[in-house]
């Protein structure tokens, strides 16, 4: 782990009024690493992803991506708040999949996947469609290209959303409770796609999840958040096998109890 981190949270804080959601967070994520973020609700775990995707502003600290500041930019040797152009440039390296899919309902699966490559990357329709077709094939939806989101099941919609994010060729993928809105029998097909991504692509992945089994088997590292701080982190084997912190033990006990 002497490598330079691809994502660095450097003393990042986030507050909503008097409520501190994240308190001086320090977290390094390395290239190709798969990090699972777990914790009770309100622990700030989703906020970590949302800040990295620039869906939330930060109140203190700096987020670095690939050695460059995301939330800030250098001007005359000093770091100042990033402008929109800078944010867009750095943000291009990050993709995100949401709990509620957020597909564009007025577009087919194919149109969802070519919109950004064509308008942001300036790809020709033919090339964008070829790339999208490959990705839809990879997520097992080659037959559903011309379907609208309303004609797809939740699991299928989420797989389209994964293909749509991948079409932008991000280096870092964020998964925000991507199976939480799914019926139990549809969870597997989405996790299967994420597994495949992990083994076939050199992606850095950050996921907020409640699927402990999946986190244990898939992640290289588990970060347990509690009240806006990382309470404990480590390799899944140690983390689940011999948790050190009392809060971690309590949480794991409660979660495993619930099944």
């Amino acid at each position: 782990m002497t490598d330079k981190p691809i994502v660095r949270f450097d003393k990042v804080s986030k507050r909503y009024g008097p409520l501190t959601v994240l308190d001086s967070l320090e977290l390094d994520i390395f290239r190709g690493e798969k990090v699972a973020i777990i914790g009770p609700s309100g622990s700030g775990k989703t906020t970590v992803l949302r800040m990295l995707m620039t869906l939330e502003t930060i109140d203190d600290g700096v987020i670095w991506v690939d050695g460059e500041p995301l939330t800030h930019m250098e001007r005359n040797g000093k770091l100042v708040r990033a402008d929109q152009a800078h944010i867009r440039k750095i943000r291009a390296r990050i993709g995100m999949v949401f709990q509620s899919f957020n597909l564009f309902p007025h577009m087919t699966a194919m149109a969802n996947c070519i919109e950004a490559p064509m308008t942001v990357l300036g790809m020709k329709r033919q090339d964008a469609e070829a790339r999208a077709a490959d990705l839809l094939d990879m997520v097992g939806l080659a037959q559903k290209k011309e379907h609208y989101p309303s004609q797809l099941s939740g699991g299928q919609q989420q797989r389209v959303a994964i293909a749509r994010a991948l079409a932008m060729r991000p280096k870092i993928m964020l998964f925000d409770e991507v199976t939480s809105a799914l019926d139990p029998e549809l969870v597997g097909e989405v996790l299967q796609v994420i597994r495949k991504l992990g083994s076939e692509h050199d992606l850095t992945m950050l996921m907020v999840t409640h699927q402990m089994g999946f986190a244990k088997e898939f992640a290289d590292r588990i970060c347990f958040f509690y009240q806006g701080k990382i309470c404990e982190q480590g390799h899944p084997k140690e983390f689940f096998g011999s948790p050190k912190n009392d809060r971690t033990k309590q949480f794991l006990h409660a979660v495993l109890e619930a099944g």
Partner: protein, 218 residues
């Protein structure tokens, strides 16, 4: 009392005036729909404009259209802006209804789920592309009925232009009346015309709604 031969005599004159009324409606509504959209977009894209725009919208909605028409036609010349009656009238109609339309658009945008905006951010779409390809296509279909209502309302207010002597239907009917001392036929015909046109537009709007709803949406 009712004289059919008089009706036949004045019908061509009124028909010609009706064209002016329809022109004023169409130009006025295109203006209202466009300017209203611009106002609603500006509010979202440039938050600092939100307050001035809501003040402006409130000002326009809280004063009578007739006063606004008079203002453009009679007061603007003292600021060096002289408009002919038709232009001043259509402009006033357009601006007045733009204020209402901007609120309709705003409700349309407010109804777009936050997740749609967030997906656009995550895909790094520009604000322009976000509005053009994602937000507007979803926001417009549900508000077509409301916009349609304002089209009909605007149309029914075009007789106000007679106050600044635009030769639209009402003004023409008044002229016929004052020249022949017969008001029954011209005024009744104007009423019938508005009724017919309003019914036709309502049917058209419903057809457009059906067309928009045919596309699968969530």
């Amino acid at each position: 009392m009712w004289d059919w031969s008089f009706v036949l005599e004045i019908l061509p004159v009124l028909a010609h005036a009706a064209i002016i009324s329809i022109e004023a409606t169409l130009i006025g509504f295109v203006l209202a729909a466009t300017l209203g959209l611009v106002l609603a977009l500006a509010r979202i894209a440039f938050p600092s404009t939100a307050l001035p725009i809501s003040v402006l919208v409130e000002l326009i909605r809280s004063t009578p259209l007739l006063i606004q028409i008079f203002f453009l036609y009679f007061v603007f010349p003292s600021f060096g802006v002289t408009l002919d009656a038709f232009t001043a009238g259509v402009l006033a109609l357009g601006i007045h209804y733009a204020a209402y339309c901007s609120e309709v658009y705003r409700s349309g945008f407010d109804n777009i789920h936050r997740g749609q905006w967030e997906a656009c951010t995550a895909l790094n779409l520009s604000s322009w592309t976000t509005f053009r390809d994602i937000i507007i296509p979803q926001a417009i279909p549900p508000i077509v009925p409301a916009l349609g209502n304002y089209l009909v309302a605007l149309f029914k207010e075009t007789p106000l232009l007679s106050a600044i002597a635009v030769l639209e239907l009402m003004q023409t009917a008044k002229i016929i009346g004052s020249e022949t001392f017969r008001y029954t036929e011209p005024i009744t015909l104007v009423g019938v015309f508005f009724l017919a046109m309003s019914l036709v537009s309502a049917t058209l709007i419903r057809a457009v709604e059906r067309l928009l709803n045919r596309r699968p949406a969530r």
